[in-house]
Symmetry: C2
Subunit: 256 residues, 2 copies
Amino acid sequence: MRKIAVAMAKGGVGKTTTAVNLAHGLASHGYRVLLVDCDTQGQVSKFLGVKPRFGLYEFITERGDNGEHISKNEAIHQSRQNLWLLSGGIRLVELKNWLGEQPRDVRQTLLGNELVPKKGSLDYQIFDCAPGWDVLSVNILMAANEVLCPVALQGPSLEGLKTFFRYLQSAQKLNPDLRLKYVLPTMFDRRTRQSYEILRQLQKYFGRQICDPIHFNVRLSEAPAHGQTIFEYRRHATGAHDYDKLIRRIINDGIQ
Amino acid sequence: MRKIAVAMAKGGVGKTTTAVNLAHGLASHGYRVLLVDCDTQGQVSKFLGVKPRFGLYEFITERGDNGEHISKNEAIHQSRQNLWLLSGGIRLVELKNWLGEQPRDVRQTLLGNELVPKKGSLDYQIFDCAPGWDVLSVNILMAANEVLCPVALQGPSLEGLKTFFRYLQSAQKLNPDLRLKYVLPTMFDRRTRQSYEILRQLQKYFGRQICDPIHFNVRLSEAPAHGQTIFEYRRHATGAHDYDKLIRRIINDGIQ
Ligand SMILES: Nc1ncnc2c1ncn2[C@@H]1O[C@H](COP(=O)(O)OP(=O)(O)OP(=O)(O)O)[C@@H](O)[C@H]1O
Ligand SMILES: Nc1ncnc2c1ncn2[C@@H]1O[C@H](COP(=O)(O)OP(=O)(O)OP(=O)(O)O)[C@@H](O)[C@H]1O
Ligand SMILES: [Mg+2]
Ligand SMILES: [Mg+2]
């Protein structure tokens, strides 16, 4: 089973857009996927147009709003064929506070220890990370074995990437299997020189890890308001085509 | 003294761009401004093209890398005329962990209690908030008395705003003076229908609090790579004109 964390401390670079479209695309190819939303904003369920009663908070604590017992299975919501969701949201604030009070070794590895699916029941776990850096971010990098890093081709994004690498390196000390597998340029805007400049620098630094860029495509930012992935909203938009390419690359890497 | 938090949990909506250009614009009008970077990414110093040795971490703990004593004055960096900076960065991760272990009342109000300038030495404190929601976000909303909320006119931003209001309301219980003063539409792109739709909805919900939108302007995303604010990089760009309007509105509100 592949466990891919879609992570980048910088905000608004396309983490949720990538995690949702990647998870749905893989599910449409027949892979069984668990999508985990680790953000207190809890946007993944909105992007998928679903309103699960429970999510990651209940999955870990096995407790509902009124203290009643919730089984792990009840906390998982089937959102599409082959696609299951552990939704995020404001209750994760409580989880973060609670984690902060645990002893150091529990604090960093709890999520990975709880997320152990029955052997052979899943092909992929995809984690949508929150912006910033906190105790949940560390937990995800302990639970995952691959990192996919979206980098917006605008503004001081390379600077943000350098900061993120320091976080990644501290996580690799604790989880030696963790690999930065993919750097995904996003919001590629052919009209601006800056886009080409940043893309060229990324290609110089990363070589093989660089993916084909996701173009700036307003359909990608319209789809969430309809509760649909890009494949459901505009199957032939540039955004759908770009994410198709990424999914094919990820599937092929898995076959070797 | 006015204490304005530039805050929004959603990432990449223009918080840092707004905080930096607002702070510099006010300073150019002769107001004395302290800009506080509360983000572990520590991008404010990059946007201003400065490399301070110390920042917010040292200001609060009064301790340097090797445990030596650092006075509060040493932690403050003068970045422009009338503009002082308390920079952020990766050391704030330690501060967050340390805050998490303090008793509840200290945990939430520490920043406000530490940031008490000599009477009459400052006109504005501007806080650049990190994305997401954590113990530092609570501290800022305890220290501030006004909130300016940038909302990107793309994607599911209204949903993000609703989530943020729940955080704001829980902070107002502890700090009754706190007011949502400004909602600033950002990245207004005349080419897309979505921009107009979201703007219309914001105007319906917020009435007087709504500011004139900041247009999508590539100059705003180029300026940080040069370590300059928009007023230094392209004085007559649309972005500079839009932030001028915001600054004039904020100054006029202060005079009443
Ligand atoms: N390629 C693209 N073209 C146009 N808009 C995009 C693209 N990718 C993402 N967006 C839009 O940009 C905004 C930010 O994207 P998204 O929410 O996925 O980023 P994020 O990194 O998950 O943000 P956060 O840091 O808040 O979690 C959203 O409004 C989204 O709809
Ligand atoms: N009006 C605008 N037009 C074009 N680009 C913009 C505009 N405002 C901000 N940007 C660019 O968009 C990106 C996000 O802006 P910024 O970093 O200020 O957002 P933020 O909310 O502070 O992000 P974070 O959540 O990571 O702290 C940056 O690359 C910035 O240069
Ligand atoms: Mg997201
Ligand atoms: Mg910022």
